[in-house]
Symmetry: C2
Subunit: 109 residues, 2 copies
Amino acid sequence: MRDELLPGTLDMLILKALTLAPMHGYAIAQHLQQVSKDVLRVEEGSLYPALQRVQAKGWVKSEWRETPNRRRARYYTITAAGRKRLGDEMQSYQRMAAAIQRVLLGQKG
Amino acid sequence: MRDELLPGTLDMLILKALTLAPMHGYAIAQHLQQVSKDVLRVEEGSLYPALQRVQAKGWVKSEWRETPNRRRARYYTITAAGRKRLGDEMQSYQRMAAAIQRVLLGQKG
DNA sequence: TGCTTCCCATAGTTTATCTATGTAAAGACC
DNA sequence: GGTCTTTACATAGATAAACTATGGGAAGCA
């Protein structure tokens, strides 16, 4: 197991965060860390490549804006395709998480 | 999300399976698939490298034996270090799985 | 002036999994 | 006797994801 993140879940978590509001990268990381009670920590070296990834797939779009603090930041917005994708990923994830629980708890198949 | 497995969980699942009994690779794959109700499918190209990985770390040991079918197979047994490791990995996994659920369900941190 | 926080980004490495492929033996079927 | 399926192990090469390390810059505060 890695340290701060379950591999394969980052894109999903990013998309989920963006359903609440358009956000810049830094805010996404803060949000995930806060909601997860400090369990999920997204390194910048994971976050920004991931944002480029999901944008390249058409799941989010982005634009430069000014933050409330008067700083420039790239705001990401989830697209319709992104919402569709999020639904698929969540379903797949829940399926696997439930399956793993069955294995770990030693329940009968 | 990948297709058949949550990345980062395979070693843990293998170790968990081996707490039930020593098993050969093929049996481990069958066991995981069955207990997970066909959700978890471990490809051979993932399984055997993983078995070498956990053996190299000292979490399992192995020996050639004869199966009930009179075939030769390499049986893997979990070690004390492996049980310790399994406990750590399960705890870490449960922590992250719970954190991800909080994000996906939109609960407050 | 210097420190901290906010914010973006990339290069290079590591790790994990998958695809594809090869070997081989047992048993069933024809 | 020949073929197919199942059981069983293994590796090479590709792909993808995440990490470490590093760089820049602007705002605000001491």
